[in-house]
């Protein structure tokens, strides 16, 4: 039956050795009859590989995907190209069917990969130390805030901005709900920038959390904000876009203390939101408060260089309720994928990828700007995302229209506008967020704009 091994003969022999009549007898001896389930589980019937493969292949084919549609969706998850090498490596059983490297002697592969990943992340961010991964960009941003609060024990204010990723802020709010911390979301200025945040920083501030480029694609004045935070004795957390660092300055070079990112863009499939990769790096002196596993270098009994999990006293399995975080399973396989991705790209490939995004985004912006119907909200520099306003249609309907023509045109920002801690400001009403990666072609961009332009307009535009 499916993946089971024991033949009837095996079962009999095994029960004999145990000295039991049946497995039921073993269970009855342990599980009170009163709590045993007396009926079969009500689940769909067992299905063989042929039928399940057929059924789910057909089901998969009903979903729009980046294979069936041209994707301009972003907002923290991007349709960047995944080189074939990444899939080939990550599909090796020795990687994906192993556990956390608790026995270093038979886990040197995973441990070296983790050590290399950590090094790559420090190279990428310009910061001194990286952990071996967290769950995703959103929880990583939150863990960075918790880490800051632990470092700045006497401070209880966290400052962020309304152009930081709505999901990240919503996560942060959920985590902070039961603890005695004030979360201040500072409104961005008309240019979609978080600079006003500077004025909110005070002596009570443990940390500021900014995103660069921010959710609406704008480049923040990270260095100024970090300088102001430092001045006030607060820590600066930057949520960065890894691809953008092919061209933009690194967090470590901007005065940032803790850098976090969603690592999906580094060779990981979109997979409707996960598993993704939470990246986290920080100043070297903060390492003992860093959450998550860390691999480090040491030597074996024969003096040979090797790798181990280290600084484990930060972790839950040693320190229980005193740990820096509760994280146990992390995203090692995704960290592996990202290491392979970064190794393939190298410095020049990363720069070229960023530059291709910038060039194609610029072209897309121009195409929208050339169109009467649309307004590009924030002109100026951007790496892979920008906001377009269309007053002549319901944005949801517009996006539906496009997806029926095979284009995933953008993220409808209307549902994200509001006045909760996680909302976007009103300025983004009637807007959508367009992401352009290096994969998009000139003709795809042209057809995006053409498709949207041809969508029916509302009888009376909204006010």
């Amino acid at each position: 039956m499916s993946y089971l091994f024991h033949t009837e003969e095996d079962r009999a022999e095994m029960l004999g050795s145990i000295g039991a009549e049946s497995v039921q007898q073993l269970l009855d001896a342990q599980v009170p009859a009163s709590v045993q389930l007396k009926r079969p589980l009500k689940l769909p019937a067992a299905t063989d590989e042929i039928n399940l493969t057929r059924e789910l292949t057909q089901s998969a084919a009903t979903n729009a995907s980046t294979s069936s549609h041209v994707c301009f969706l972003g907002g923290g998850a991007y349709d960047h190209f995944i080189p074939a090498v990444v899939d080939e490596i990550a599909s090796r059983g020795e990687y994906y069917t192993s556990y956390t490297p608790y026995q270093a002697e038979v886990s040197q592969g995973n441990l070296q990969v983790m050590f290399e990943y950590e090094t790559l992340i420090t190279q990428l961010t310009g910061l001194g130390v990286s952990n071996a991964s967290l769950y995703d960009g959103g929880s990583a941003a939150t863990e960075a805030v918790l880490m800051s609060l632990a470092i700045k024990r006497d401070r209880s204010k966290v400052i962020t901005s309304d152009v930081v990723h709505p999901h990240y802020r919503e996560t942060l709010a959920a985590y902070l709900h039961n603890v005695d911390v004030e979360l201040v979301v500072v409104p961005s200025d008309d240019d979609g920038l978080s600079t006003p945040m500077i004025d909110a920083i005070d002596e009570q501030t443990a940390c500021v959390l900014i995103q660069h480029p921010n959710y609406v694609g704008r480049l923040e004045s990270v260095a100024s904000i970090a300088a102001a935070a430092k001045e006030a004795g607060a820590l600066t957390i930057e949520s960065f876009d890894p691809i953008s660092l092919g061209r933009l300055k690194r967090p470590g070079d901007l005065g940032v203390d803790i850098a976090v990112a969603e690592g999906q863009c580094l060779g990981n499939p979109l997979a409707y939101g996960g598993p993704y990769l939470g990246i986290m790096a920080c100043r070297e002196d903060l390492v003992r408060r860093l959450p998550g596993r860390i691999a480090g270098q040491t030597t074996d009994r024969r003096g040979k260089r090797c790798w181990v999990l280290t600084l484990q006293t930060r972790e839950q399995h040693i320190r229980r309720d005193k740990a820096t975080s509760n994280i146990c399973s992390n995203q090692t396989l995704l960290a592996l994928r990202s290491s392979v991705y970064l190794s393939l790209l190298g410095p020049h490939g990363l720069r070229e990828t960023a530059d291709q995004c910038i060039a194609k985004l610029s072209y897309a912006k121009e195409c929208f700007e050339a169109c009467e119907r649309f307004e590009v909200l924030h002109p100026g520099a951007a790496v892979k995302e920008f906001v377009v306003r269309d007053l002549s249609a319901d944005v949801g309907g517009l996006m539906d229209h496009a997806s029926q023509s095979g284009v995933l045109a953008g993220i409808n920002l209307d549902p994200l506008v509001g006045d909760s801690t996680s909302s976007l400001p009103d300025r983004y009403q009637h807007c959508f967020l367009v992401a352009v990666t290096e994969q998009r072609t000139r003709s795809e961009i042209q057809s995006l704009v053409r498709t949207l332009e041809s969508a029916p307009a509302l009888a009376s535009p909204p006010t």
Binding site: A60, H167, L270, Q297
Partner: protein
Amino acid sequence: MRNQQASQLLFELSRPGRRAHTFDSLDVPEPDLEQMFDSDDLAATPPPLPELAEGDVVRHFVGLSTLNMSVDTHFYPLGSCTMKYNPKRNERIASLPGFAHVHPMQEASTIQGLLHCLYELQEMLAEISGLPGVSLQPAAGAHGELTALFVAAAYFQSRGENRRVVLTADSAHGTNPASAQMAGFATKTVKSNGDGLVDLDDLKAKLGDDTAVFMLTNPNTLGLFDRQIETINHLVHEAGALIYLDGANMNAILGITRPGDFGADLMHYNPHKTFSGPHGGGGPGAGPICVRDFLAPFLPGPIVTRQMDDDGQPILELTTPEHSIGRVRSFFGNVGVLMRAYIYIRTYGGDGLRRVSEDAVLGANYLLSKVKHILDVPHGDRCMHEFVASATRLKKQSGLSAMDLAKRVLDYGFHAPTVYFPLVVDEAVMVEPTETESKQTLDAFAEALFRITEESDDLVHEAPHTTRISRPDDVAAARRPVLKWSDASDETATP
């Protein structure tokens, strides 16, 4: 047969000017970056990543992979981790573009097939647990614990109850107290009794007005089902608190008993254990949670719900529960892992899942029946899906520790059991064979343990002997941390 270069680091293989990923020229105009960007924003040079050829990258990472033990290559009886066979059909199906290449911000109307699977998975998890409210959002077991505690906190808050304490068992996994602390609770530890079960007196003593949740692992980390469960259930609920079930050990009880039926109010699953999601060298996992109906309004959103359209056709939508705690991560959840769980459950069906647990219990008891002649097994000769032996006697007799034993096991071509966990057993050796290992393999493993106890102490002390490296110096690693390559010393190659 080892490729000597494979022990080098990526950074040591790097040569300036070498390239793997190259690009055709742009098909759009090249913008003037200097003019477009503020010069403060631009980096003069890209990050100093290594420069490699594609062949370098492949040989390096393929080579490294061969230094790992894994379920695909070795018996991996790592207690508490349920290292069962990871079905290849799961990998193939979950990787189809229509599942794997879907953007998380796509509208529900464009992904009805996927949402149908996720909806069914919610229903399945509810049926298996006996708890009707399901959130697929958490990214791992520990994340599920945390999320459920947020839910519990919101629930009590909604009732105006100020319950600030979470009780955890001394045999619990470290994530339990860590999650409780992170969720803003104070923690108290409930002791185990001599049978390895919950010490009821201690539980009673610690339960009170301020108790929000008792976090229970059942079967617990000793592989024992707590037969006092009804009493526990009564006591905790009497005190107005909730029971949280750490579902890491669900592999023992699928279709046999349901957490909801034995008193749990909230629980998480580890689909990467119970439902064959591969562990990926440490992750990703997922941590879906199930809760009682009165807790469901507090679950994080979104959740997949089903409506009927005008033609009576089901339409799947994403909704957020009324009093939702919000969200605990970005986007929907670890869909890739969840899809594998879904495929696994579809493969077995209800009877099949019960059989999975029966075989897991059979295998563990069989191995126990052999190992008890080799090592002490302090908590009796019956277990559920795993058991915990102790190397204390061995240590007294020959100075060999659980660690020594574990290291020597590696030489026999098996991964080691979990050692030194749970903390309530000295020199713990925690063995979980899973249902996907043959009797031959279990026999060979028991035989290896036996032989090791007969071997010379030195041989075992110095083990492992056949692995790439001998025991690493953990103390030096922590004392003088080297956490990244700068120009770490190179390996020299002599065969």
